[in-house]
Symmetry: C2
Subunit: 421 residues, 2 copies
Amino acid sequence: MLLPTAAALLAAAPVQVASQPKPEAVLKTKAYVSAVQILDRDHDRMVDEIIKLTEIPAPPFKEAARAAAYRDMLIDAGLADVEIDAEGNAMGIYRGTGPVGGPAVMIAAHLDTVFPEGTPIKVRREGTRLHAPGVGDDTRSLAVLLAYARAMKESGIKVKQDIIFVGNVGEEGPGDLRGVRYLLTKGKYKDRVKTFVSMDGSDPSRIVTGGVGSKRYRVTFKGPGGHSFSAFGLVNPMAAMSQTIADFYKIPVPAKPKTTYAASVTGGGTSVNSIPNEVFIEFDMRSEDPSELAKLEQAFLAVVKKGVETENAARSVKEGAITADIKPIGDRPAGETAATQPIVRYAHAIISALGLSPRSASSSTDANLPMSLGVPAVTIGSGGEGGRAHALDEWIDVEKTKSLHGASVGLGILLATAGVK
Amino acid sequence: MLLPTAAALLAAAPVQVASQPKPEAVLKTKAYVSAVQILDRDHDRMVDEIIKLTEIPAPPFKEAARAAAYRDMLIDAGLADVEIDAEGNAMGIYRGTGPVGGPAVMIAAHLDTVFPEGTPIKVRREGTRLHAPGVGDDTRSLAVLLAYARAMKESGIKVKQDIIFVGNVGEEGPGDLRGVRYLLTKGKYKDRVKTFVSMDGSDPSRIVTGGVGSKRYRVTFKGPGGHSFSAFGLVNPMAAMSQTIADFYKIPVPAKPKTTYAASVTGGGTSVNSIPNEVFIEFDMRSEDPSELAKLEQAFLAVVKKGVETENAARSVKEGAITADIKPIGDRPAGETAATQPIVRYAHAIISALGLSPRSASSSTDANLPMSLGVPAVTIGSGGEGGRAHALDEWIDVEKTKSLHGASVGLGILLATAGVK
């Protein structure tokens, strides 16, 4: 956790702009220009790799097949020390010229998608549009990182700090960012990562510097169950759950600071002709403001209580009453990277220099975790356009000009951060 | 379907009691007395077989393992022509002395339970109580039928009509009584079955002569889905479904004629951090009175419509609106067996003669199907006591006196119906 006093000191420190080269100077280097030419030449290959990776299923906790494929691609890209760590993250190093074991930049795209096993993930191509669940969130970024590594290698780019390229697990599902958490609290590079960049989504003008906190719960409503006809009149956990969700969806939340909720995954029941013994529902709540998130969480707990009480009052409890087992399944830390941090300044400068209007945003991404640990971190886009993340009709547009332009932004930010010799 | 005129004729026909032996006379026959002594002697074996069969899983449509075991037990009991038919019913014949291919009595217990694959079904025994999902509904009856066949065989009982013993599939789940439907509309004995007895549940004083009709639906709510944070504000099919269920549980229904409903099985959702694309819920509705069932069905359809409209009005439909796919998954025919039918009169007489107070009831059982075809049918209990059918804490009591007494009722009804030489 970045201590408030330290943060204040950093914010107050005069920025030594005059004594340093401007970050956008990297864009003029022969190294960068050469690498972007290679990205241009190899754009079709990058698109092919987006498709290849998208079509390997990677539900939360089931990223292994995609991780193995990605490891092989990292090796093929010429990185060093390529491996899959104990949590399932695939990673490899682009060696810098700095001291062995010195400060490093970690750039990561997440392997996992939100889509459960069995979801059709074949990519449908229409012109320059690719349609498939997970294609933009976050599979394009995985392919862009491979393209960076290859282009840097071929151009012979020398960077000061090691760059650790990662395809990480555990961004989407439960587990509180288990992939990045492992990398930064247990992994072999945990003490070396001084800057963390998550590449997630497409928009290259957006810099996520605020980590939206989230609270997630799985609530299991339980009751006595019974025969739908002969035991009719007994309390039904389905009715209690439904009342809870209906009331949950009436909770007012502010548009600013942005505060959101969702009732997302459900299941349960014995058979069509039985009052169920138990049913469950998962909830997701988020806010840019921790106090709004806390208020929402209290309102949530109150509607669960009311849902249970309403059902126990409405029907018979002679065989047992409805109870709710309220289990926290996610608690993503909120965090922020100060505008004065080099990574934020570099990102702004590079985005502007490449003709876009940088805008800071808050979101809940892998960068939340380093932010919460005090490691400067941002999330940036990988270029092109996209939409409908987390929906079955997710898409990206890989029209070459825009796709390449966006990808060149991230490369500039990465090289400026690692430092080009 | 029993035509009203035919039913009226039957009801109006003078019952030739004087010219026939009283049905309870069967209880005095050497054959019956001997068979009951064997049931007594072999009671422990029957209990063992209840346990053995209960511990073989038999979810709807997945009865094959239990059917195979039951077929072997029917062979072992000495029945003829034992087989599993194309629908999955296990059956065998106790030959009568009547003409080959003549009228027959079918007595059936259902193999399937309501419990899905993976439900723990190990029997827990506490004194004379057996606890396990499905132990009473309807596994005890399967074991009782085996005990009947063995006792009749050993006693050398000669019956006039063939008795077809069946362990049938498809009573609990969807499929509109597919097991008995096959037996009576397609199976090899379909034209020979002139009386149908379903043994289901425990109470030996109850005669189900009314078939409660049921309507079952699976409703799938669909919407655009999206990211829980970035797409917050879009319509959520989970909210529409919850509103529907909450409203459904406010529909008033009469206690008499008994009319019931249940929201029973649910599922769906993409991931905890996604607005789902689709979720589903299954509904069961029943009534002793077809017009009450029709009223309930209309009220149900209205709440689904309202649930969808409420959600589409509450949140944004810019990416698409909520729709509900309303699919009928069950439509069990209602039916009735007239009090003047021999099977009903025999059951009343035997139950009374054995010291119990017979009572007619309505339920939704395998007997609904023959009733709807005009085949005289009842459902009777297999003896002992039991409770909590369709719940995980289902139990039966096999205390010997009561268990045997109840079982001897069914045997008397069966022999009176088939006719003892």
